[in-house]
Symmetry: C2
């Protein structure tokens, strides 16, 4: 289990842009919680983040994207890519989840607020499907890389979709429990329940089907 | 394996309404294929189905609903509900899939056209998530009934979501193969790959986790 999260290597300019993006998200989420999602304008978010409204649009095409943006995606990718290639995939994923859980802990309240809005606001729910499919292709690419399969392989797509929807069910369960406990423990539980770990390891060692 | 599909018991009036609904869907799908989804108006669908536009709205709230309506949902429910309660759930589901496959075969072209539109048309894709969650609750209710669990139980929700998304991946695979082969064989393959059958049977016999 890694002690620290290895950050994706970024130049100074990229780090600065990422910091602005995260600050916009943080201010927006604070406003959404204080006064409601629909009631908050892009002008208000820009003012709170000390940028102009046109700068806002350089970072996020719409207000919805502020909620949907996940700063942890690159962390997860680097955790999985950096794993020993002969390790069973289930181990890599469990380790990545623990790493992610640690990285998210300081932002716990914001992650909870984003999950709530993402699942409950009707405008955002409509985009969920798209977001899940993006996550599926991201994970499918990683599974393909580790198993030597094609990213478009049917089994790879089925298993990456299982991972994504199990994580989604876990987020819903976390909300049901009022944000108690660690989200990533619930994700691990969902993956265990789903049976997908065994199938992933079988795929990795060429024993699938 | 049943020789015939047991139809859900319906009165004369309900049967007549169902027939009208199916005829509207059939005419609409024909028009969508001939002239495009966006190009087809509700007036044109109503004219083709020999009803008035206001009658159309008695059956479907929007044009999207015509594509999304699945006449096989009650067939699946009755196939699962009618199964011997001590049969492993994986067996019940495999048998229901075979029954459904048989029921759908005469409508193969329309099922393919619906899958294509549902997956590829942007307006419809936005509603997919909602539809998947409806299917999840339907299946969750059946799993709960058979296992004595609560329909809201975390494991029941995870496994019913696995069933739904495996079926969705199978539909995409079927489209990729140009509609070749039987959709329900591909669904069975996806379920096999996912590992969900074993987990369902474990849940059914109280051996889960």
């Amino acid at each position: 289990m890694p002690d620290t999260i290895t950050p994706v290597a970024l130049g100074l300019r990229e780090r600065k842009k990422l910091k602005t993006k995260e600050s916009i998200q943080r201010e927006a989420m604070r406003l959404f919680q204080e006064q409601g999602y629909d009631e908050t304008t892009i002008e208000q978010i820009a003012a709170a983040a000390e940028i102009s409204p046109s700068t806002f649009f350089n970072y996020f095409p719409t207000k919805e994207d502020v909620v949907l943006y996940d700063r942890y995606d690159p962390v997860m990718v680097s955790l999985i890519e950096g794993a020993p290639p002969d390790e069973p995939l289930s181990q890599t994923i469990k380790r990545a989840l623990e790493g992610l859980g640690g990285a998210m802990e300081p932002d716990r309240q914001m992650v909870l607020a984003r999950a709530k809005l993402g699942i409950q606001a009707p405008t955002l729910r409509a985009r969920f499907w798209e977001e899940l499919q993006k996550a599926q292709s991201l994970l499918g690419g990683l599974i393909a890389m580790r198993t030597g399969r094609d990213a478009d392989d049917f089994e790879v797509r089925v298993l990456s979709m299982m991972l994504v929807t199990a994580a989604f069910e876990a987020a819903q369960e976390w909300l049901r429990r009022g944000g108690e406990g660690a989200l990533f423990d619930i994700v691990k539980e969902a993956l265990q329940v789903s049976g997908v770990f065994d199938r992933l390891d079988a795929l990795g060692s060429g024993r699938a089907r």
